[in-house]
Protein backbone atom coordinates (compact mmCIF):
# COMPACT_ATOMS: atom_id res chain seq x y z
CA UNK A 1 0.00 0.00 0.00
CA UNK A 2 1.85 3.07 -1.23
CA UNK A 3 0.39 6.52 -1.60
CA UNK A 4 -0.96 6.55 -5.14
CA UNK A 5 -4.31 6.99 -6.79
CA UNK A 6 -5.14 4.29 -9.28
CA UNK A 7 -8.89 3.98 -9.55
CA UNK A 8 -8.81 0.50 -11.12
CA UNK A 9 -6.57 -0.77 -8.37
CA UNK A 10 -8.74 0.82 -5.71
CA UNK A 11 -11.88 -0.70 -7.18
CA UNK A 12 -10.27 -4.11 -7.17
CA UNK A 13 -9.96 -3.87 -3.40
CA UNK A 14 -13.72 -3.77 -2.86
CA UNK A 15 -15.23 -7.25 -3.14
CA UNK A 16 -18.77 -5.90 -3.23
CA UNK A 17 -18.11 -4.02 -6.47
CA UNK A 18 -18.22 -7.41 -8.20
CA UNK A 19 -21.79 -7.73 -7.06
CA UNK A 20 -24.34 -7.84 -9.86
CA UNK A 21 -27.89 -6.67 -9.51
CA UNK A 22 -30.89 -6.86 -11.88
CA UNK A 23 -30.20 -8.83 -15.07
CA UNK A 24 -26.57 -9.17 -14.16
CA UNK A 25 -25.87 -5.47 -14.22
CA UNK A 26 -22.78 -4.52 -12.27
CA UNK A 27 -23.50 -2.52 -9.15
CA UNK A 28 -22.95 1.21 -9.42
CA UNK A 29 -22.74 2.24 -5.77
CA UNK A 30 -23.49 5.92 -5.40
CA UNK A 31 -24.51 5.86 -1.74
CA UNK A 32 -21.21 6.27 0.11
CA UNK A 33 -22.62 9.13 2.19
CA UNK A 34 -25.02 6.64 3.78
CA UNK A 35 -22.31 4.11 4.43
CA UNK A 36 -19.03 3.17 2.78
CA UNK A 37 -18.13 -0.27 1.49
CA UNK A 38 -15.29 -2.22 3.05
CA UNK A 39 -12.04 -2.89 1.23
CA UNK A 40 -10.47 -6.33 1.58
CA UNK A 41 -7.78 -4.90 3.86
CA UNK A 42 -10.41 -4.06 6.47
CA UNK A 43 -12.29 -7.34 6.11
CA UNK A 44 -9.07 -9.30 6.42
CA UNK A 45 -7.89 -7.36 9.45
CA UNK A 46 -11.12 -8.11 11.30
CA UNK A 47 -11.13 -11.74 10.29
CA UNK A 48 -7.55 -12.29 11.28
CA UNK A 49 -8.19 -10.62 14.63
CA UNK A 50 -11.12 -12.99 15.19
CA UNK A 51 -9.16 -16.05 14.10
CA UNK A 52 -5.86 -15.30 15.81
CA UNK A 53 -6.04 -12.79 18.65
CA UNK A 54 -9.62 -12.50 19.78
CA UNK A 55 -10.32 -12.11 23.50
CA UNK A 56 -11.94 -9.68 25.84
CA UNK A 57 -9.66 -6.80 26.76
CA UNK A 58 -8.31 -5.13 29.90
CA UNK A 59 -7.31 -6.83 33.11
CA UNK A 60 -6.80 -10.11 31.30
CA UNK A 61 -3.87 -12.15 32.43
CA UNK A 62 -3.52 -14.41 29.41
CA UNK A 63 -1.78 -14.03 26.08
CA UNK A 64 -4.82 -13.42 23.90
CA UNK A 65 -6.17 -10.87 26.36
CA UNK A 66 -2.85 -9.03 26.21
CA UNK A 67 -2.73 -9.18 22.42
CA UNK A 68 -6.32 -8.01 22.03
CA UNK A 69 -5.76 -5.20 24.53
CA UNK A 70 -2.66 -4.08 22.70
CA UNK A 71 -4.48 -4.10 19.36
CA UNK A 72 -7.49 -2.30 20.79
CA UNK A 73 -5.40 0.39 22.44
CA UNK A 74 -3.30 0.53 19.29
CA UNK A 75 -6.47 1.36 17.39
CA UNK A 76 -7.10 4.22 19.78
CA UNK A 77 -3.59 5.53 19.13
CA UNK A 78 -4.19 5.22 15.40
CA UNK A 79 -7.40 7.26 15.63
CA UNK A 80 -5.62 9.85 17.77
CA UNK A 81 -2.83 10.16 15.21
CA UNK A 82 -5.32 10.58 12.39
CA UNK A 83 -7.11 13.42 14.20
CA UNK A 84 -4.00 15.04 15.66
CA UNK A 85 -5.15 14.27 19.19
CA UNK A 86 -3.85 12.35 22.19
CA UNK A 87 -4.92 8.77 22.74
CA UNK A 88 -6.62 9.61 26.04
CA UNK A 89 -8.81 12.12 24.21
CA UNK A 90 -10.33 9.38 22.03
CA UNK A 91 -13.49 7.64 23.17
CA UNK A 92 -14.86 4.72 21.22
CA UNK A 93 -18.61 5.02 20.80
CA UNK A 94 -21.27 3.26 18.72
CA UNK A 95 -21.09 5.96 16.09
CA UNK A 96 -21.55 9.66 15.53
CA UNK A 97 -25.06 9.52 16.95
CA UNK A 98 -23.86 8.10 20.24
CA UNK A 99 -20.99 10.59 20.34
CA UNK A 100 -23.43 13.50 20.20
CA UNK A 101 -25.70 11.88 22.77
CA UNK A 102 -22.77 11.27 25.09
CA UNK A 103 -21.78 14.94 25.08
CA UNK A 104 -25.38 16.14 25.34
CA UNK A 105 -26.14 13.81 28.26
CA UNK A 106 -22.94 14.47 30.23
CA UNK A 107 -21.48 17.88 29.44
CA UNK A 108 -24.91 19.10 28.37
CA UNK A 109 -26.86 18.07 31.44
CA UNK A 110 -24.04 19.40 33.58
CA UNK A 111 -23.75 22.84 31.97
CA UNK A 112 -26.85 23.74 29.97
CA UNK A 113 -29.30 25.88 31.93
CA UNK A 114 -32.69 27.50 31.46
CA UNK A 115 -32.56 30.38 28.99
CA UNK A 116 -29.37 28.98 27.46
CA UNK A 117 -29.26 28.52 23.72
CA UNK A 118 -27.74 25.60 21.87
CA UNK A 119 -26.73 26.84 18.44
CA UNK A 120 -26.80 24.39 15.55
CA UNK A 121 -27.28 24.93 11.85
CA UNK A 122 -30.25 24.39 9.58
CA UNK A 123 -28.25 21.79 7.66
CA UNK A 124 -27.70 19.42 10.59
CA UNK A 125 -28.36 15.70 10.47
CA UNK A 126 -31.01 14.66 13.03
CA UNK A 127 -28.17 13.16 15.07
CA UNK A 128 -26.90 16.67 15.75
CA UNK A 129 -30.34 18.09 16.52
CA UNK A 130 -32.42 15.63 18.50
CA UNK A 131 -29.95 14.96 21.36
CA UNK A 132 -29.70 18.74 21.89
CA UNK A 133 -33.47 19.07 21.79
CA UNK A 134 -33.66 16.38 24.46
CA UNK A 135 -31.23 18.17 26.76
CA UNK A 136 -33.01 21.46 26.00
CA UNK A 137 -36.36 19.94 26.94
CA UNK A 138 -34.87 18.79 30.23
CA UNK A 139 -33.13 22.01 31.14
CA UNK A 140 -35.41 24.63 29.67
CA UNK A 141 -32.85 25.73 27.10
CA UNK A 142 -33.64 26.11 23.42
CA UNK A 143 -32.09 24.96 20.16
CA UNK A 144 -31.63 27.60 17.50
CA UNK A 145 -30.44 27.02 13.91
CA UNK A 146 -28.02 29.19 11.92
CA UNK A 147 -29.72 29.67 8.54
CA UNK A 148 -28.52 28.18 5.29
CA UNK A 149 -28.22 30.30 2.15
CA UNK A 150 -29.88 29.44 -1.14
CA UNK A 151 -26.71 27.83 -2.53
CA UNK A 152 -26.49 25.56 0.48
CA UNK A 153 -23.70 27.34 2.29
CA UNK A 154 -23.98 28.46 5.89
CA UNK A 155 -25.07 32.03 6.42
CA UNK A 156 -21.85 33.34 7.89
CA UNK A 157 -23.19 36.79 8.65
CA UNK A 158 -26.02 35.28 10.70
CA UNK A 159 -23.61 32.92 12.39
CA UNK A 160 -21.51 35.83 13.52
CA UNK A 161 -24.56 37.66 14.84
CA UNK A 162 -26.00 34.65 16.54
CA UNK A 163 -22.85 33.71 18.46
CA UNK A 164 -23.81 35.73 21.51
CA UNK A 165 -23.26 35.33 25.21
CA UNK A 166 -26.40 33.28 25.81
CA UNK A 167 -25.06 30.53 23.56
CA UNK A 168 -23.81 27.64 25.66
CA UNK A 169 -22.54 25.42 22.85
CA UNK A 170 -22.15 25.57 19.10
CA UNK A 171 -22.84 22.18 17.52
CA UNK A 172 -22.28 22.24 13.81
CA UNK A 173 -21.56 19.81 11.04
CA UNK A 174 -18.23 19.83 9.24
CA UNK A 175 -19.75 18.61 5.97
CA UNK A 176 -23.44 18.43 5.12
CA UNK A 177 -24.69 14.95 4.25
CA UNK A 178 -27.29 16.42 1.88
CA UNK A 179 -25.69 19.47 0.33
CA UNK A 180 -22.08 18.40 0.39
CA UNK A 181 -21.21 21.83 1.77
CA UNK A 182 -17.92 22.03 3.66
CA UNK A 183 -18.32 24.46 6.52
CA UNK A 184 -15.41 26.54 7.69
CA UNK A 185 -15.48 24.98 11.12
CA UNK A 186 -12.08 26.37 12.08
CA UNK A 187 -13.39 29.91 11.68
CA UNK A 188 -16.65 29.12 13.45
CA UNK A 189 -14.78 27.51 16.35
CA UNK A 190 -12.40 30.47 16.60
CA UNK A 191 -15.35 32.86 16.80
CA UNK A 192 -17.00 30.67 19.41
CA UNK A 193 -13.84 30.34 21.44
CA UNK A 194 -13.41 34.11 21.55
CA UNK A 195 -16.81 34.28 23.18
CA UNK A 196 -16.15 31.40 25.55
CA UNK A 197 -18.56 29.08 23.77
CA UNK A 198 -17.93 25.35 23.74
CA UNK A 199 -17.81 23.72 20.28
CA UNK A 200 -18.91 20.36 18.93
CA UNK A 201 -18.18 19.41 15.32
CA UNK A 202 -20.03 16.56 13.59
CA UNK A 203 -17.41 15.07 11.29
CA UNK A 204 -19.47 12.12 10.04
CA UNK A 205 -19.26 13.28 6.43
CA UNK A 206 -15.84 14.91 6.62
CA UNK A 207 -13.36 12.20 7.48
CA UNK A 208 -13.77 10.26 4.22
CA UNK A 209 -12.91 13.29 2.13
CA UNK A 210 -9.43 14.01 3.41
CA UNK A 211 -7.42 15.13 6.40
CA UNK A 212 -9.03 16.34 9.57
CA UNK A 213 -7.00 17.81 12.41
CA UNK A 214 -8.85 18.71 15.58
CA UNK A 215 -6.14 21.08 16.79
CA UNK A 216 -6.31 23.03 13.54
CA UNK A 217 -10.08 23.15 13.81
CA UNK A 218 -9.80 24.16 17.43
CA UNK A 219 -12.99 22.42 18.54
CA UNK A 220 -13.72 20.99 21.96
CA UNK A 221 -15.41 17.89 20.57
CA UNK A 222 -15.32 16.09 17.22
CA UNK A 223 -17.28 12.99 16.22
CA UNK A 224 -17.37 10.51 13.36
CA UNK A 225 -18.48 6.97 12.46
CA UNK A 226 -16.19 4.19 11.22
CA UNK A 227 -18.81 2.98 8.73
CA UNK A 228 -18.42 6.17 6.74
CA UNK A 229 -14.65 5.77 6.58
CA UNK A 230 -14.51 2.29 5.01
CA UNK A 231 -14.69 0.67 8.42
CA UNK A 232 -17.38 -1.38 10.18
CA UNK A 233 -20.71 -0.31 11.65
CA UNK A 234 -21.33 -0.14 15.38
CA UNK A 235 -18.21 1.86 16.17
CA UNK A 236 -17.44 5.54 16.10
CA UNK A 237 -15.31 8.09 17.79
CA UNK A 238 -15.74 11.00 20.10
CA UNK A 239 -12.72 13.23 20.40
CA UNK A 240 -12.90 15.43 23.48
CA UNK A 241 -10.28 17.93 24.55
CA UNK A 242 -8.54 16.56 27.62
CA UNK A 243 -9.72 19.32 29.96
CA UNK A 244 -13.31 18.83 28.82
CA UNK A 245 -13.33 15.08 29.31
CA UNK A 246 -11.62 15.32 32.68
CA UNK A 247 -14.45 17.38 34.14
CA UNK A 248 -17.34 15.39 32.67
CA UNK A 249 -19.44 12.89 34.63
CA UNK A 250 -19.73 9.37 33.23
CA UNK A 251 -22.36 8.51 30.62
CA UNK A 252 -23.21 4.83 30.91
CA UNK A 253 -22.37 2.79 34.00
CA UNK A 254 -20.90 -0.69 34.06
CA UNK A 255 -17.65 -2.61 33.82
CA UNK A 256 -14.37 -0.97 32.79
CA UNK A 257 -15.54 2.61 33.53
CA UNK A 258 -15.20 2.25 37.28
CA UNK A 259 -12.43 2.65 39.76
CA UNK A 260 -14.13 0.90 42.65
CA UNK A 261 -17.71 -0.36 43.05
CA UNK A 262 -19.50 -0.96 46.30
CA UNK A 263 -23.02 -0.52 47.56
CA UNK A 264 -21.69 2.21 49.84
CA UNK A 265 -20.51 4.21 46.85
CA UNK A 266 -18.81 3.89 43.51
CA UNK A 267 -15.91 5.86 42.05
CA UNK A 268 -15.11 6.23 38.38
CA UNK A 269 -12.06 5.75 36.20
CA UNK A 270 -10.21 8.50 34.35
CA UNK A 271 -11.03 9.32 30.71
CA UNK A 272 -11.21 7.72 28.23
CA UNK A 273 -12.21 4.60 30.22
CA UNK A 274 -14.79 6.57 32.22
CA UNK A 275 -16.84 6.84 29.06
CA UNK A 276 -16.48 3.28 27.81
CA UNK A 277 -18.72 1.09 29.94
CA UNK A 278 -18.94 -2.58 29.09
CA UNK A 279 -17.17 -4.75 26.59
CA UNK A 280 -16.16 -2.50 23.71
CA UNK A 281 -16.76 -3.26 20.05
CA UNK A 282 -13.37 -4.89 19.62
CA UNK A 283 -13.63 -6.01 16.00
CA UNK A 284 -14.99 -2.54 15.33
CA UNK A 285 -11.96 -0.77 16.72
CA UNK A 286 -9.61 -3.15 14.90
CA UNK A 287 -11.57 -2.62 11.69
CA UNK A 288 -11.50 1.13 12.11
CA UNK A 289 -7.74 1.08 12.63
CA UNK A 290 -7.34 -0.97 9.46
CA UNK A 291 -9.63 1.41 7.59
CA UNK A 292 -7.58 4.41 8.68
CA UNK A 293 -4.38 2.66 7.72
CA UNK A 294 -5.86 1.80 4.34
CA UNK A 295 -7.36 5.22 3.75
CA UNK A 296 -4.10 6.93 4.59
CA UNK A 297 -2.38 4.85 1.92
CA UNK A 298 -4.41 6.73 -0.69
CA UNK A 299 -2.92 9.94 -1.99
CA UNK A 300 -5.18 12.46 -0.38
CA UNK A 301 -4.55 15.29 -2.85
CA UNK A 302 -5.11 13.00 -5.81
CA UNK A 303 -8.33 11.77 -4.23
CA UNK A 304 -9.57 15.30 -3.70
CA UNK A 305 -8.69 16.18 -7.27
CA UNK A 306 -10.48 13.09 -8.60
CA UNK A 307 -13.54 13.81 -6.50
CA UNK A 308 -13.68 17.42 -7.72
CA UNK A 309 -13.57 16.18 -11.29
CA UNK A 310 -16.33 13.68 -10.68
CA UNK A 311 -18.40 16.38 -9.02
CA UNK A 312 -17.96 18.77 -11.93
CA UNK A 313 -18.70 16.01 -14.41
CA UNK A 314 -21.86 14.84 -12.66
CA UNK A 315 -23.10 18.35 -11.99
CA UNK A 316 -22.69 19.35 -15.60
CA UNK A 317 -24.37 16.27 -16.99
CA UNK A 318 -27.25 16.29 -14.54
CA UNK A 319 -27.90 19.96 -15.26
CA UNK A 320 -28.71 19.06 -18.85
CA UNK A 321 -31.81 17.19 -17.67
CA UNK A 322 -34.92 19.26 -18.08
CA UNK A 323 -36.42 20.41 -14.79
CA UNK A 324 -33.30 19.45 -12.81
CA UNK A 325 -32.79 21.30 -9.53
CA UNK A 326 -29.59 20.59 -7.69
CA UNK A 327 -29.87 21.45 -4.02
CA UNK A 328 -26.48 22.49 -2.69
CA UNK A 329 -24.18 24.33 -5.04
CA UNK A 330 -21.75 25.86 -2.62
CA UNK A 331 -18.34 26.48 -4.20
CA UNK A 332 -16.84 24.52 -1.34
CA UNK A 333 -18.40 21.07 -1.45
CA UNK A 334 -17.54 17.39 -1.51
CA UNK A 335 -18.84 14.66 -3.81
CA UNK A 336 -22.47 14.65 -2.71
CA UNK A 337 -25.24 15.80 -5.06
CA UNK A 338 -28.85 16.12 -3.95
CA UNK A 339 -31.48 16.92 -6.52
CA UNK A 340 -35.14 16.93 -7.41
CA UNK A 341 -36.69 17.02 -10.86
CA UNK A 342 -39.80 19.05 -11.62
CA UNK A 343 -42.88 16.91 -11.84
CA UNK A 344 -41.11 13.67 -11.02
CA UNK A 345 -41.06 12.08 -7.58
CA UNK A 346 -37.64 11.35 -6.13
CA UNK A 347 -38.70 7.85 -5.15
CA UNK A 348 -39.61 7.01 -8.76
CA UNK A 349 -36.18 8.11 -9.94
CA UNK A 350 -34.55 6.03 -7.22
CA UNK A 351 -36.49 2.90 -8.16
CA UNK A 352 -35.84 3.12 -11.87
CA UNK A 353 -32.17 3.89 -11.33
CA UNK A 354 -31.98 0.89 -9.02
CA UNK A 355 -33.42 -1.28 -11.79
CA UNK A 356 -30.54 -0.06 -13.91
CA UNK A 357 -28.00 -1.05 -11.29
CA UNK A 358 -27.45 2.40 -9.82
CA UNK A 359 -27.75 2.65 -6.04
CA UNK A 360 -28.65 6.17 -4.90
CA UNK A 361 -30.47 7.20 -1.76
CA UNK A 362 -33.88 8.84 -1.78
CA UNK A 363 -35.52 10.52 1.16
CA UNK A 364 -35.06 13.24 3.73
CA UNK A 365 -31.59 11.92 4.60
CA UNK A 366 -32.28 12.47 8.30
CA UNK A 367 -32.32 16.22 7.69
CA UNK A 368 -35.98 17.18 7.70
CA UNK A 369 -35.37 20.79 8.79
CA UNK A 370 -33.12 21.19 5.76
CA UNK A 371 -35.80 19.67 3.51
CA UNK A 372 -38.24 22.21 4.93
CA UNK A 373 -35.71 24.98 4.25
CA UNK A 374 -35.61 24.05 0.57
CA UNK A 375 -39.31 23.30 0.33
CA UNK A 376 -38.97 19.65 -0.61
CA UNK A 377 -40.00 16.48 1.22
CA UNK A 378 -37.18 14.39 -0.18
CA UNK A 379 -34.33 14.42 -2.67
CA UNK A 380 -32.38 11.92 -4.69
CA UNK A 381 -28.83 11.84 -3.42
CA UNK A 382 -25.82 10.66 -5.38
CA UNK A 383 -22.64 10.39 -3.31
CA UNK A 384 -19.14 9.32 -4.27
CA UNK A 385 -16.65 7.06 -2.61
CA UNK A 386 -12.95 6.54 -3.26
CA UNK A 387 -13.91 3.87 -5.81
CA UNK A 388 -16.24 6.05 -7.85
CA UNK A 389 -15.24 6.33 -11.49
CA UNK A 390 -16.30 8.61 -14.31
CA UNK A 391 -18.06 5.62 -15.78
CA UNK A 392 -20.11 5.34 -12.57
CA UNK A 393 -21.09 8.97 -12.95
CA UNK A 394 -21.99 8.44 -16.59
CA UNK A 395 -24.20 5.48 -15.78
CA UNK A 396 -25.87 7.27 -12.90
CA UNK A 397 -26.69 10.32 -14.96
CA UNK A 398 -27.96 8.08 -17.73
CA UNK A 399 -30.20 6.27 -15.25
CA UNK A 400 -31.62 9.53 -13.95
CA UNK A 401 -32.25 10.80 -17.49
CA UNK A 402 -33.92 7.56 -18.45
CA UNK A 403 -36.09 7.62 -15.33
CA UNK A 404 -37.21 11.16 -16.03
CA UNK A 405 -38.02 10.19 -19.62
CA UNK A 406 -40.11 7.21 -18.47
CA UNK A 407 -41.90 9.17 -15.80
CA UNK A 408 -42.95 12.25 -17.70
Amino acid sequence: MTATFDIAAIRAEFPILSRRVHDGRPLVYMDSAATTMKPRHVLDAMRSFDEQHYSNVHRGSHTLAAEATEMFEGARTQVAAMLGANADEIIFTKGTTESVNLVAATWGRQHVQTEDVILVSAMEHHANIVPWQMVAAETGASVRPIPVLEDGSLDDASARQMLTADIRILAVTHVSNVLGTVNNVARLCAMARERGIVTFVDGAQAVQHGNVNVRDIGCDFYAFSAHKLYGPTGVGVLYGRREMLASMPPYQGGGAMIDRVSFAGTTYAEPPMRFEAGTPHLEGAIGLAAAIEWFRSIDCDALRHHEAELLAHATEELSRIDGMRIIGTSPNKVGIISFVVDGVHASDIGMIADRMGVAMRVGHHCAQPLMDRFGVSSTVRMSFGVHTSHDDVQQSVHAVAKAVEMLR
Partner: protein
Protein backbone atom coordinates in the same frame (compact mmCIF):
# COMPACT_ATOMS: atom_id res chain seq x y z
CA UNK B 1 -70.37 -2.67 -7.45
CA UNK B 2 -69.48 -6.30 -7.87
CA UNK B 3 -66.38 -6.78 -10.01
CA UNK B 4 -66.76 -8.75 -13.23
CA UNK B 5 -63.95 -11.12 -12.30
CA UNK B 6 -63.27 -13.11 -9.15
CA UNK B 7 -60.13 -12.20 -7.24
CA UNK B 8 -58.34 -15.21 -8.65
CA UNK B 9 -59.38 -14.27 -12.14
CA UNK B 10 -58.24 -10.69 -11.67
CA UNK B 11 -54.93 -11.87 -10.33
CA UNK B 12 -54.44 -14.22 -13.25
CA UNK B 13 -55.36 -11.47 -15.63
CA UNK B 14 -52.72 -9.26 -14.08
CA UNK B 15 -50.10 -11.96 -14.31
CA UNK B 16 -50.94 -12.43 -17.98
CA UNK B 17 -50.75 -8.75 -18.73
CA UNK B 18 -47.21 -8.71 -17.45
CA UNK B 19 -46.23 -11.92 -19.18
CA UNK B 20 -46.52 -10.14 -22.49
CA UNK B 21 -44.08 -7.49 -21.41
CA UNK B 22 -40.61 -8.93 -21.57
CA UNK B 23 -38.51 -5.82 -21.06
CA UNK B 24 -38.32 -4.19 -17.66
CA UNK B 25 -38.97 -0.80 -19.24
CA UNK B 26 -42.30 -2.01 -20.59
CA UNK B 27 -43.22 -3.53 -17.25
CA UNK B 28 -42.44 -0.35 -15.38
CA UNK B 29 -44.31 1.68 -17.97
CA UNK B 30 -47.27 -0.63 -17.52
CA UNK B 31 -47.16 -0.20 -13.76
CA UNK B 32 -47.03 3.55 -14.15
CA UNK B 33 -49.95 3.57 -16.58
CA UNK B 34 -51.92 1.43 -14.13
CA UNK B 35 -51.60 4.27 -11.65
CA UNK B 36 -53.25 6.59 -14.08
CA UNK B 37 -56.41 4.46 -14.06
CA UNK B 38 -57.10 5.30 -10.41
CA UNK B 39 -60.12 7.49 -9.82
CA UNK B 40 -59.24 10.92 -8.41
CA UNK B 41 -58.67 10.68 -4.68
CA UNK B 42 -61.13 12.68 -2.56
CA UNK B 43 -59.26 15.58 -1.00
CA UNK B 44 -61.15 15.28 2.31
CA UNK B 45 -59.45 11.93 2.87
CA UNK B 46 -55.93 13.17 2.19
CA UNK B 47 -55.11 13.14 5.90
CA UNK B 48 -52.75 11.43 8.33
CA UNK B 49 -55.50 8.97 9.24
CA UNK B 50 -55.50 7.41 5.82
CA UNK B 51 -51.77 7.48 5.20
CA UNK B 52 -50.09 4.11 4.86
CA UNK B 53 -47.04 3.97 7.12
CA UNK B 54 -43.81 2.43 5.93
CA UNK B 55 -43.72 3.79 2.41
CA UNK B 56 -41.02 6.15 1.23
CA UNK B 57 -43.48 8.21 -0.75
CA UNK B 58 -46.85 9.28 0.55
CA UNK B 59 -49.64 6.75 0.09
CA UNK B 60 -53.26 7.27 1.05
CA UNK B 61 -55.80 4.49 1.27
CA UNK B 62 -59.40 5.11 2.20
CA UNK B 63 -61.83 2.23 2.76
CA UNK B 64 -65.59 2.30 2.77
CA UNK B 65 -68.19 -0.43 2.85
CA UNK B 66 -70.73 -0.66 0.07
CA UNK B 67 -73.19 -3.55 0.11
CA UNK B 68 -70.93 -5.66 2.27
CA UNK B 69 -67.99 -5.10 -0.03
CA UNK B 70 -64.98 -2.99 0.76
CA UNK B 71 -64.34 -0.18 -1.61
CA UNK B 72 -60.93 1.44 -1.58
CA UNK B 73 -59.83 4.77 -2.89
CA UNK B 74 -56.12 5.38 -3.08
CA UNK B 75 -53.42 7.75 -4.17
CA UNK B 76 -49.71 8.36 -4.02
CA UNK B 77 -47.47 11.24 -4.94
CA UNK B 78 -45.05 8.85 -6.63
CA UNK B 79 -45.92 7.23 -9.96
CA UNK B 80 -44.58 3.72 -9.47
CA UNK B 81 -46.04 3.39 -6.03
CA UNK B 82 -49.35 4.70 -7.35
CA UNK B 83 -49.19 2.04 -10.04
CA UNK B 84 -48.56 -0.65 -7.46
CA UNK B 85 -51.47 0.34 -5.31
CA UNK B 86 -53.64 0.51 -8.41
CA UNK B 87 -52.63 -3.04 -9.31
CA UNK B 88 -53.41 -4.20 -5.81
CA UNK B 89 -56.83 -2.58 -6.00
CA UNK B 90 -57.41 -4.18 -9.41
CA UNK B 91 -57.45 -7.45 -7.50
CA UNK B 92 -58.62 -6.39 -4.04
CA UNK B 93 -61.18 -3.68 -4.65
CA UNK B 94 -64.88 -4.22 -3.98
CA UNK B 95 -64.43 -7.64 -2.41
CA UNK B 96 -65.92 -8.96 0.78
CA UNK B 97 -63.71 -9.03 3.84
CA UNK B 98 -63.67 -12.81 3.71
CA UNK B 99 -62.50 -12.82 0.13
CA UNK B 100 -59.70 -10.38 0.95
CA UNK B 101 -58.55 -12.30 3.98
CA UNK B 102 -58.73 -15.58 2.10
CA UNK B 103 -56.60 -14.38 -0.79
CA UNK B 104 -53.02 -15.62 -0.95
CA UNK B 105 -51.08 -12.71 -2.49
CA UNK B 106 -48.78 -14.99 -4.49
CA UNK B 107 -49.76 -13.28 -7.72
CA UNK B 108 -47.33 -10.53 -6.73
CA UNK B 109 -44.49 -12.94 -7.03
CA UNK B 110 -45.95 -14.50 -10.16
CA UNK B 111 -45.97 -11.06 -11.76
CA UNK B 112 -42.35 -10.77 -10.87
CA UNK B 113 -43.14 -7.63 -8.97
CA UNK B 114 -41.03 -8.46 -5.95
CA UNK B 115 -37.98 -8.95 -8.15
CA UNK B 116 -38.75 -6.11 -10.51
CA UNK B 117 -39.32 -3.76 -7.62
CA UNK B 118 -36.82 -5.37 -5.38
CA UNK B 119 -36.63 -2.54 -2.92
CA UNK B 120 -40.03 -3.48 -1.66
CA UNK B 121 -39.62 -1.90 1.71
CA UNK B 122 -39.12 1.42 0.01
CA UNK B 123 -42.09 1.13 -2.30
CA UNK B 124 -44.16 -0.08 0.60
CA UNK B 125 -45.84 -2.95 -1.21
CA UNK B 126 -45.89 -5.02 1.94
CA UNK B 127 -47.26 -2.11 3.96
CA UNK B 128 -50.03 -1.45 1.47
CA UNK B 129 -51.08 -5.07 1.37
CA UNK B 130 -51.03 -5.25 5.14
CA UNK B 131 -53.18 -2.14 5.38
CA UNK B 132 -55.75 -3.58 2.96
CA UNK B 133 -55.89 -6.74 5.04
CA UNK B 134 -56.13 -4.80 8.30
CA UNK B 135 -59.09 -2.83 7.02
CA UNK B 136 -60.72 -6.07 5.91
CA UNK B 137 -60.10 -7.61 9.30
CA UNK B 138 -61.52 -4.61 11.13
CA UNK B 139 -64.58 -4.57 8.95
CA UNK B 140 -65.16 -8.30 9.19
CA UNK B 141 -65.00 -8.01 12.96
CA UNK B 142 -67.49 -5.19 12.89
CA UNK B 143 -69.96 -7.20 10.88
CA UNK B 144 -69.34 -10.41 12.82
Amino acid sequence: MTPAMTMAQAANDLVEQFEFLPSWEDRYAHIISFGKTLAPYPEEHRSETYKVKGCQSQVWLHPSVQDGRIHFEADSDASIVKGIIAMLLFVYNDRTADEILGMKPDFIERIGLTQALSANRANGLASMLKQIQLYALALSRRTA
